[in-house]
């Protein structure tokens, strides 16, 4: 075991993992995080706490993780390289490990232009692949990026993301390979709606043998409304929502139920793709649907390891 986290145990044990997302509040209330943790605890193996997602200031990921950890849950600390240089990153990792955080997900982060401080200066001292490699060096060699020694163990389960729907399509697999080479233990993907395209990407992943080297969890975002579907189709860079899904929601009497059905169909097909080891459900502001989806998708009960 690299970290001994629940997520690592579930994946290494060969179980089909379920993770979900906890967005921390734009405020100081721990109970917001606790409430989401309560909703999600029995249907997930680990919970990602986002890091100032879409560059909107929220409670820090590390704090959210500590709150979840205090509830006996297994948090995944998301860390973007937009807001921290290599000094702050390594310092936060030391603190996170000291506080019992074992899973870290490495991301570039959305550009600050999208957030509530668009005039901020970004950092991007290192990129997300270099972050993965930094964490692996910290864990396996107990060394900082500069080569100096770290005192104590750095048990981490290292995650990265990949977006199979971004361009250039054929290079995405090469880039996934770079993340694996850098030291990623698990991958959570961008939300999948176009399962055929995703399956094509996974075939390229298997052709390169990457599915044997890293656990891939497919991203799923349940769609709550027609407006959300249209917005994701038209405005979210790198997300591909087929028109057919938008039409189904437009024609539905009960849009939320149709959204759940679509999600269940997607999960069903994802389970059949070789090399997919779990799903990551990102139900933004709709956390209470996750237990329903997990139940109806036949993903309950979660293994107790």
């Amino acid at each position: 075991m690299k970290s001994g986290s629940n997520l690592e145990k579930v994946l290494e044990g060969g179980h089909f993992a379920v993770t979900a997302e906890v967005g921390p509040p734009k405020g100081t209330s721990a109970s917001v995080v606790q409430k989401k943790g309560d909703i999600l605890k029995s249907c997930c193996d680990a919970l990602n706490v986002t890091d100032n997602q879409t560059a909107i200031v929220r409670m820090s990921s590390l704090s959210g993780c500590v709150i979840l950890k205090g509830m006996g849950l297994d948090p995944v600390m998301q860390m973007v390289v937009r807001d921290r240089n290599r000094i702050a990153i390594q310092s936060d990792i030391l603190g996170a490990v000291a506080l019992g955080i074992r899973n870290v997900l490495c991301l570039s982060g959305d550009h600050q232009k999208f957030g509530n401080h668009p005039t901020a200066k970004n950092v991007y001292d290192i990129d997300s692949i270099q972050l993965v490699k930094t964490l692996k060096t910290m864990r396996d060699e107990k060394k900082f990026l500069c080569g100096e020694n770290i005192s104590g163990e750095v048990p981490l389960f290292i995650g990265a993301v990949e977006n199979p729907f971004a361009d250039p399509f054929e290079f995405r697999v090469i880039r996934l390979g770079k993340k694996v080479q850098a030291g990623a233990d698990f991958i959570q993907t961008q939300a999948v709606y176009d399962v055929d395209k995703f399956a094509g990407w996974m075939k390229m992943v298997r052709d390169r043998g990457l599915d044997k080297q890293v656990h891939i969890l497919a991203g799923v975002i349940p769609i709550k409304s027609v407006g959300m579907a249209r917005y994701m189709r038209d405005n979210v860079s790198g997300v591909s929502v087929p028109d057919e899904i938008v039409t189904r929601l437009e024609d539905a009497k009960d849009v939320k139920e149709e959204g759940v059905k679509i999600t269940l169909e997607i999960i069903d097909r994802l389970k059949d793709i070789d090399g997919i080891h779990g799903v990551h459900v990102m139900a933004v502001a709709w956390e209470d649907i996750v237990p329903v989806i997990a139940e109806r998708a036949g993903l309950l009960p979660r293994p107790i390891l």
Binding site: H111, D127, A166
Partner: protein, 236 residues
């Protein structure tokens, strides 16, 4: 070249309205090419400021001049009397010129008349594009001649990130994804495999973040060594 853009007239007026003798000093190299701060723009801006002064009922004389480059001492000689006779100099050079002028202008303030934007090229008439960040440690040989520091919105060294779509950057449909361009260019060059290697963290100390930079050419700055013949003559 260094690309700049004109500042709004109101902003300039707010800077200089308390002064009675204003010199608008153009720079006829980079910023003239991008129609921001050459001699012609200095002349037009001086007229606008005279009108503004007149409309505001302020007694101000606004003169204008221009030199070839405000980044080399020798070009300043012909205008230094004019500079000294002014209460303020509004430099239409890039920030380099304004700083350089401030060093020379003694107790006369040097104000910026333009916003210095970036190092760029003339894509076509009227379109100027940023292509270099002047960061030191150039790696263009590894990226098909396309700079990820200047042209990727996140300056990442192992791109493209997940935000690219149809070859465009997540920040705007009008911005090309530099890493998309890099991948396509490397394919064309038959060197895509260079991108398979993980680029290590960049040394930013050679860029904006390592403190002010200076290049010293010792073969030019060092005093001439004494000629041997002369030395031996003197010793005799």
């Amino acid at each position: 070249m260094i690309v700049g853009t004109q500042k709004p007239l109101e902003e300039i007026w707010d800077m200089i309205k308390g002064f009675r003798k204003v010199l608008v000093l153009g720079c006829n190299t980079c910023v003239a090419i991008c129609h921001a701060g050459g001699g012609k723009e200095a002349e037009i801006l001086a007229s606008l400021l005279r009108m503004k002064a007149s409309l505001s009922g302020v007694e101000t004389t606004v003169r204008h001049a221009a030199i070839e480059r405000q980044c080399e001492s020798e070009f300043f000689e012909p205008v230094m009397d004019e500079v000294r006779a002014s209460d303020v100099v509004l430099s239409l050079a890039c920030g380099v010129g304004v700083n350089f002028l401030a060093d020379k202008a003694g107790d006369i303030p040097a104000f910026p008349g333009i916003d210095t934007a970036f190092f760029g090229a003339v894509e076509k008439a009227g379109i100027f594009k940023e292509l270099c960040a002047g960061c030191g440690g150039c790696i263009l040989h590894l990226t098909g001649g396309i700079c990820p520091v200047a042209r990727c919105s996140k300056s990442i060294m192992n791109g493209p990130c997940g935000g690219t779509s149809d070859g465009k950057c997540e920040i705007s449909r009008d911005v090309d994804c530099a890493w998309y361009l890099i991948v396509e260019r490397m394919k064309k060059l038959g060197t895509l495999e260079k991108l398979f290697e993980i680029q290590p963290p960049k040394d930013w100390s050679t860029g904006l973040y390592g403190g002010p930079r200076k290049v010293v050419l010792e073969h030019i700055t060092a005093p001439e060594p004494p000629e041997k013949g002369k030395e031996s003559q003197g010793g005799m």
